[in-house]
Amino acid sequence: MTTAVLPSLSLAGKLARVERRKRLRAMALTLPLLVFLAVTFLVPLGALLIRAVENPEVADTLVHTGKALSGWDHKATPPDEAYKALVIDLNAIPETAQAGVLARRLNSEVSGARSLIMSTYRAKLDVRDLPAAEAKAKLLEVDARWGETPYWLAIAKNSSRWTPDYLLTSIDLKRDVDGSIVRVGKDEAAFSDILLRTFSISAVVTIVCILIGYPLAYWLSTLSERRANLMMILVLLPFWTSVLVRIAAWIVLLQTNGLVNRFLMFSGVTDSPVPLLFNRLGVVIAMVHILLPFMILPLYSVMKSVPPNFVRAAVSLGSAPLAAFFRIYVPQTYPGIAAGGLLVFITSIGYYVTPALLGGAGDQMLSYYVAQYTNVEVNWGMACALGSVLLVTTLALYAVYRKFGKAELSLG
């Protein structure tokens, strides 16, 4: 009996070892991809998330000022020691460049802080041996604005190395004097509108893509192989053209005296040109055109795999053809609709060039402001915070899709 068990045990052990080696080899094969993903995807994303909360500018330079302000009640003028500490801290900054970075950071909190910091930095006051009260008087002589509390509040607020402020600002919230979180005023509240707008434009584009793409994909799936291939090339052709070229083409077509408007007036639909450009409509038209292939391809591949027998069976059992189509055929293509919809929706959320060139000031999507903060304001903390908001909401949507998608599969 023992002789019979032993070899089988060792056989199982051998098998397990071989299996493990196979798995390792498979892992090793995917290693380059994992490294590639880590370097090009995870590291930049991590850096983005860190930059969205990192706040080193004030904490690194105004060390003593931060300490002197720690006991301040945030209401009256700050203690005299803070004034002296500020001058000492500013003098300790070795390069103008660093002072400039500090000035930029504080200016994005309080308008005017840039010129205030730079003029004070350039004045190079010497207060080391003076009592704090005299140092304060000297500083106020350089710029009377140091008597106002908002600038001091900004310094006190940013004395810590990490800040939730960028993220709060990107959803129209802010910390007030006491540190409690409140909504910003109407004049400053921009980003929740912009985020909502980004999602609503993307949703409209996705729905229009489904409405146009579904019948087209269905028609393609009923054609013979040769004709379907030919038609598929026509679908893909715009896919291979540069986005900018397609946008320029839409400008030519949609402008006030463009082809579309001239046709509408010629055919008597309208008497005067319809505004089709530099508004929401123009943005949606161009985005649908650009994103349609992303909808058609997954739909087509799903429709190709749907067997025609079920619909035939339903009709032969007495169902009306239209009812059979909607009750038997369409549910079988849900995975295609879900995949195409998700692809189009997530791609549209990041759209930048199309709305920038075809939309008005009220049609810009979140990416436009990310670019604005990156390139124009050079406020990368804010740009990263907006990017993070976009990333998190997209991931949340994807999670919803996963749940929804699974339910769909189990139903099918």
Binding site: T96, S111, G112, A113, A190, V378
Partner: protein, 342 residues
Amino acid sequence: MKMKTLMIAVAAVMAIPAMAQSQITVVNFGGANGAAQKKAYFEPFEKTGTKVVQVEYNGEQAKIKAMVEAKKVTWDVVEVESPDINRGCDEGLFEKLDWSKLPPKSDFQPAAVHECGVGAFVWSTVMAYNADKLKTAPVTWADFWDVKKFPGKRGMRKGPRYNLEFALMADGVAPADVYKVLATKDGADRAFKKMTELKPNIQFWEAGAQPPQFLVAGDVAITTAYNGRIDAAQREGKNLGITWTGGIYDLDFWVMPKGTPNKAAAEKFIAMAASVEEQAEYTKHISYGPTNNKALAKIDPKILAMLPTSPANSKTALQFNISFWADQGEALEKRFAAWAAQ
């Protein structure tokens, strides 16, 4: 023996860069202005033996910042807009300019003298219209806002810059007081309120090439525009007109990113682009004004009439206030985004 051949080889390798023709990379905004710079500055400079590689960018300071931070500077001379020279200079992105290598400071417009660079040219944001379509020309910014007298859409730059200044002038603020008023909370409110008045009739533009296109296509009746772009369209035979009243003029500057490997050649280029003959030549190709005042005397009166720096055109003009926008820009941009969403 072996050692000797090795040394010769090393010496030969090291000599290659020295033997190769020297070259500098000059970065500008391209377009008609890039072409004018090529004719007036790049081509004569290449005759001195240094090749000029022209690169276009869209004013992204992030690119310069990334280059300087990575200590891999591949741009030698860059044309930057006025807010960026102050900001970049404060943040140490640019080399300090050695003014002893340039014409004397007193020859230049006061605004063109900067520790990190020199003014390249003067341009202006003005009111422009299609003279074929409007019977009478608009004269003031109040006319720009008057959609009854001049029916049709208005083109404006997407963003608060210039627009808020124009709005205040339309509301009756004298050019000299515009920035004083705009700096107050009430003044900003007033400007945005005036913008709201015109909002249904505004068609925003993003790129400088768009306004003349809007005018020619008949999309807008009047628009704000960069004067050089309107001039370029006029040269193509389009009947566009400019109203210089209350225009906002501004300078672009030549700077050197910190750590440029070809600093000596870059300085030579900047000195040449700042001198009288070249600046006068430049105005023949595009109607942007010279920063070197001595060049004005060498310019044909016909061309002078089209420049923002001519006495007639600059009479009621307003200089773009760099320090105001450096301080208030970020907050006003954000408020503009909120305003656009309302």
